[in-house]
Symmetry: C2
Subunit: 152 residues, 2 copies
């Protein structure tokens, strides 16, 4: 089995098209960074991505990685949010949009898919008029078991 889905018209290919369609250029690093992000499916912090990219190509610098990640975001191929400690966490477009809820007690982190988040987003819109961005949704709180523990 190849772990890589379709080698053909996959992410990097579409990405290349999108980049070039905007008069921007497609480079080795961008290919590499996209690959790394695709490989770390799920989430990865900025620093992790930088390190992985540098493993594959030591000549790549942090600035390049971060700038490329910004580009991927502009194009809608990736997004990032800030974790409990304010550090960045990136994920690919492939991953469906989702939010995060982080427990301040035990550090557990659960994800919120669109369906689960819907009532929350609806409440936000009712109260504020804002259309909240699910991908940036990063909540802090206490999970049920920590609440129970704190209550005794």
């Amino acid at each position: 089995m190849k772990p890589t889905p379709d080698p053909q018209g996959s992410l990097a290919t579409r990405l290349q098209a999108a980049v070039q369609g905007r008069g921007q250029r497609w480079t080795e690093q961008r290919q590499l960074i996209a690959d790394v992000l695709a490989a770390s499916d799920g989430h990865a912090t900025g620093a992790e991505l930088v390190e992985r990219v540098r493993t594959a190509d030591p000549s790549a610098t942090p600035s390049t990685v971060y700038r490329t990640l910004d580009l991927l975001e502009e194009l809608g191929f990736a997004s990032h949010h800030h974790g409990a400690d304010g550090r960045e966490t990136y994920h690919l477009e492939v991953v469906v949009a989702h939010g995060h809820v982080h427990c301040q007690g035990c550090g557990a982190e659960v994800e919120l898919d669109a369906a689960a988040a819907k009532p929350i987003l609806a409440a936000i819109e009712r109260v504020t008029g804002y259309a909240a961005d699910l991908d940036h949704l990063s909540l802090q709180g206490r999970c049920p078991s920590c609440r129970a523990a704190a209550a005794r």
Copy 2:
């Protein structure tokens, strides 16, 4: 009613008591940092606080400021959340607990008081079982006018 509570047994005094009650020490810097935070009512970023403290006392170092802020948080006299760019924003206990909603379009930021946030927190709890921390609530989205602008 006076807007400034009581100049006497105010924040710094209570804080001192709380600190010493835990076998910890009350120092000039802590007094100063508490004053600065109190003076910048509303919000201030970590860097801003550091700068203001250093203006008043150049011998104070960032590490001291940040450590003191952590202490204030532990004691429940202050709290911080991460803004849109992941940087820290602190506010004093005096300020009622509140969340933030930041517009990705125009950069506007509105606050959510406890009453406004209630339905949102309720929705979060229904969906996840988590008791969300209002003070850490920092939402990203699009405000009504930016949504309208984007829609055309």
